[in-house]
């Protein structure tokens, strides 16, 4: 005998998602108040991989903090290297040789492609597609091998120095990078777009899901592909140019649909733009040293300093306060996904649980970078 079930909408239950959950890609926990399959309230709970990097920064010298920068966003670690190098160079007035600036741009952009490829793979894995992961990791492996050649590490790079980079690039790296550009451009239309982007299953899953309005982006301080998928034309590389970015001709992909598909498209187009930047940088690569003159012991003038860089996830800020001593007096890390995730609760309200997970994937979260 079957007993009919009466749904009561005044009855909600709490569903705990994470901190160990395959869809959160790391130790993120979300406390969900559910009405059946619908989310009434979503509350992210952070801090499961908090390591207090800001205190560690105060405990050591400026140079000693460089390895820590790679341990936040481990997918785009070179951008974190770059941001830290920039703010200290600003404070201490250190000049960087032109060749080093070009090498920084080439490696940071390669790393951005690797990061987007991994996001793409993991996002589609969340949505139930396994094959794309194999393609993306095949390509990502090439990038990681190239970066390993010059930096010595595969993921947690400590490649940049105040005044340049640690190691010069060689002909083999340049040839390998050119091969990679050709390879990814060849594979992009058939393997990435035909198989996945134009796939009706993907479109049904993420189109019109997770609408973030431009006003929400501004109120919550969302940046990067999340903002650019909501029609906001903001990219630190263009709006607040640093390094040698103004010398390259590239576009900032902006999509107005505000949904998960728009954020997907932004990242796919960004990879192509990164390839353009790398190609131009290789063509124009000047000769010369890769390290400028920098004092062994840094004692920047007391004051307030800020640097921003565009990571794969958005605008990364370093707010540095110096008191004239050998150690940073205070360092605040403004990590992009911390702000990007803060709008999750508002947007996920009223969503189906399955959609909310697809939406979460489209935010490209890296938990160690949120928790710092």
């Amino acid at each position: 005998m079957t007993v009919p079930i009466h749904l009561r909408h005044d009855e909600t239950f709490v569903l705990n998602l994470g901190p160990q959950h395959p869809a959160t890609h790391g130790v993120l926990r979300v406390k969900l108040t559910m009405d059946g399959e619908y989310i009434v309230k979503a509350e992210p709970v952070l801090g499961y991989i908090h390591r207090m990097h800001e205190k560690l920064a105060e405990a050591g010298t400026f140079a000693q903090f460089m390895p820590n920068t790679a341990r936040m966003d481990y997918l785009h670690a070179l951008a974190f290297n770059h941001g830290w190098a920039l703010v200290v160079e600003k404070a201490a007035g250190i000049e960087v040789p032109e060749r080093a600036e070009y090498i920084r741009v080439i490696t940071v952009e390669l790393n951005r492609i690797a990061s987007h490829l991994l996001w793409w793979a993991a996002f589609l894995l969340d949505l139930g597609g396994f094959t794309p992961l194999l393609y993306a990791f095949d390509d990502r492996e090439k990038v990681i091998d190239l970066l390993e050649r010059v930096t010595g590490s595969r993921l947690t790079y400590c490649y940049m120095r105040f005044g340049g980079v640690y190691n010069d690039i060689d002909d083999e790296f340049i040839a390998g990078t050119r091969d990679f550009i050709k390879r990814l451009r060849g594979r992009m239309p058939s393997l990435y777009h035909d198989l996945v982007t134009h796939n009706i299953i993907l479109i049904k899953r993420i189109k019109d899901i997770g609408i973030i309005t431009p006003e929400q982006c501004r109120r919550y301080g969302a940046t990067g592909p999340v903002a650019r998928g909501s029609g906001i034309n903001y990219d630190v590389r263009k709006n607040e140019p640093y390094s040698v970015y103004p010398e390259f001709d590239f576009d900032v992909p902006v999509f107005d649909e505000c949904d998960s598909m728009a954020r997907y498209m932004v990242r796919m187009h960004e990879m192509e733009q990164s390839l353009r930047i790398i190609e131009q940088a290789l063509d124009k690569l000047p000769d010369g040293p890769v390290m400028g003159k920098a004092p062994k012991v840094l004692k920047p003038e007391a004051g307030y300093y800020y640097s921003a860089v565009e990571t794969a996830r958005g605008s990364l800020g370093h707010r540095l306060i110096c008191d004239g001593g050998k150690n940073p007096y205070k360092l605040k890390l403004r990590s992009p996904t911390f702000s990007n995730l803060s709008l999750y609760g508002e947007v996920a309200e009223g969503m189906l649980l399955a959609d909310a997970l697809a939406f979460m994937g489209s935010l490209d979260l890296v938990i160690p970078e949120i928790d710092r």
């Binding site: 952070l46 801090g47 908090h50 207090m52 800001e54 205190k55 105060e58 703010v87 600003k90 007035g93 982006c217 501004r218 109120r219 919550y220 301080g221 940046t223 903002a227 906001i232 034309n233 903001y234 709006n239 607040e240 007391a302 004051g303 307030y304 300093y305 800020y306 640097s307 921003a308 605008s315 800020g317 707010r319 306060i321 008191d323 007096y329 205070k330 605040k332 403004r334 911390f338 702000s339 803060s342 709008l343 508002e346 928790d371 710092r372």
Partner: protein, 163 residues
Amino acid sequence: MNMLEKTQAALAELFPQAEAGEGATEAAARQPGVLRTDPARHGSHLDVLCGPDQVVAVARIMDREGYFLEAVSGVDWLEKQQLEIIYDYNRLGGEHCRVMVRTQVPRSEAVVPTVSAVFPAADWHERETYDFYGVHFQDHPNLIRILLPEDADFHPLLKDFTP
């Protein structure tokens, strides 16, 4: 009038007594007011020092001018027995202009009104500042630990903190 001048004029209305001046950020004691700084050296265009009771008024002006709140951070000036709270404002596209707003409160009574009603972005950033420095943000809707364990009874970024 460009964005920088417009913002400077709007913020200067909050400080009728202050004299208009230009120059680099000085760590020495300075009067509340708006100061221009060199973005190539300091990263921000304006350095605003305001009283704790003015942070919400500043936030309203920044909201009206179309800025977004990038970060909230604390600084412990142990020697002066003061805690400083820094709000970094920036613009999402268009003309670039970064504004650093600072306010100082005594260490013994660290209370600042919340700006989370104006910018929801401040919600998490203020919770983090409370977590690390013990700054109490008045009228914050949910001022609980965010990165540290919920039962933590310390504020680790205070300079006199010993584990």
